[in-house]
């Protein structure tokens, strides 16, 4: 009886069923049909997702962030404390946003650090901020790299006063990345290398993988 197994379909593709088998089998089959499921849902591009999410005028976002930074400077006084606070707020946001990100992007959980940072740069940044980042400067063992951001809606209209030279104005972004990566089991250290508010030509974030917790055993310590 002419029957082929699933493997043939995969290796040969749909159009290359052997002719001899076709002649022998008329296509009837009284047994059970099983759905194989062509689960080929491709990850969506950043542009496509950004076009589909609810969007707002970026001015509201930019000015709100600016007002928060200024209020924090008034309340915390020390620039260093403000940097920490922005990073913490970003971390909390990253932890929360990761689910929305995975759901809307069809990105299956990335296992590889390299792949993950690419997805953050190309899809993550686009989906939330409407801009893309690029990834460069990989080290030899693939555990650290740079995210380059040439356009950043957070800093529209912003000029740092001389009294705030130690301020990492965009520190919320590094926190978001750290938080989001931690939710996919990658513990990282994220720091600023270049900052357009300090006269550099781009924003550059250095992302270093400290430890990757294997996803299969997330509760290992508890057992």
């Amino acid at each position: 009886m002419g029957w082929w197994d699933v493997a043939d379909l995969w290796y040969g593709g749909f159009g290359s069923v052997k002719s001899g088998i076709e002649e022998e089998w008329d296509g009837s089959w009284d047994g059970k049909w099983d759905e194989i499921g062509l689960n080929f849902v491709a990850p969506r591009s950043g542009d496509a997702i950004f076009a589909s999410v609810e969007r707002v005028n970026s001015e509201l976002f930019t000015l709100t962030y600016g007002a928060i930074v200024r209020q924090l400077l008034t309340d915390l006084e020390e620039v260093e404390e403000v940097n920490k606070q922005l990073d913490q707020m970003g971390y909390n946001i990253g932890v929360r946003l990761v689910d929305e990100f995975l759901a809307k992007s069809n990105v299956s959980r990335c296992v590889d650090f390299k792949e993950t940072t690419e997805v953050i740069a190309k899809v993550g940044f686009k989906m939330f901020l409407g801009v893309t980042a690029s990834v460069t400067n990989w080290d030899a063992d693939g555990t650290s790299c740079s995210l380059i951001l040439e356009d950043n809606p957070l800093v529209d209209f912003v000029e740092l006063p001389d009294t705030c030279q130690g301020l990492y104005y965009c520190n919320i972004i590094s926190g978001v990345i750290r938080g989001a990566l931690e939710m996919v089991s990658m513990k990282t250290e994220v720091s600023w290398v270049r900052d357009m508010l300090r006269g550099d030509d781009v924003f550059e974030l250095h992302v270093k993988l400290l430890k990757q917790v294997p996803e299969e055993y997330p509760y290992k310590d508890d057992e």
Binding site: E54, V56, S58, E59, R96, L97, L129
Partner: protein, 175 residues
């Protein structure tokens, strides 16, 4: 082309400032936390009114400015206008948004199963969630006050959510 970001960016910031100011810095001083959140909104409103009035003639009276807040200004922020405007002709205006976006998205419908079902306002009033909601509202109140005061109209703004998901902003112009 108008530059845009995902709405969840703004919501994330709102959630964070409310949680930082209410649970962090001023955990035991909700009035101070409220004042800070209002101040952040005030600065935003002040700046936005400068931007959004750029291409238009000056307002000749208070009502014209209030109408601007209800129409153009609200549309820029929420892609809809205020649904109802009332006044007592003694300097108080009530602006009602029948489905205030920041309430429906930010706090009242969290990721729980409640999404889609009608919230019971009386139950809400008792919950901690209602307190958090109240805190969120200091932000849009600050925005309105900042915008109007930059247009030369000093006022006090409060919010009323006894009629969820509608939200009314009450503007009292200082004589």
């Amino acid at each position: 082309m108008v530059r845009e970001v995902a709405e969840s960016c703004v919501e994330s910031l709102l959630t964070e400032i409310v949680s930082q100011y209410c649970n962090g810095f001023y955990a035991n001083k909700p009035d101070l936390a409220a004042r800070r959140i209002e101040a952040i909104g005030y600065q935003v409103g002040h700046q936005l009114s400068e931007r959004y009035t750029m291409e238009r003639p000056r307002f000749s009276d208070h009502l014209e400015a209030i109408k601007f807040i209800c129409k153009d200004f609200w549309s820029e922020l929420f892609k809809k206008q205020i649904d109802n405007l009332k006044t007592n002709h003694r300097g108080t205006f009530v602006l009602q948004d029948n489905k205030f976006r920041w309430l429906s998205r930010v706090s009242v419908a969290p990721s729980s199963e409640n999404t889609g079902s009608i919230q019971d306002p009386s139950a809400m009033a008792e919950s901690k969630e209602a307190q958090a909601t109240g805190m969120y509202l200091y932000f849009p109140c600050g925005i309105i006050r900042g915008a109007l005061s930059n247009l030369g109209i000093p006022c006090a703004v409060s919010a009323d959510i006894s009629n969820l998901p509608a939200c009314s902003f009450v503007i009292r112009i200082k004589a």
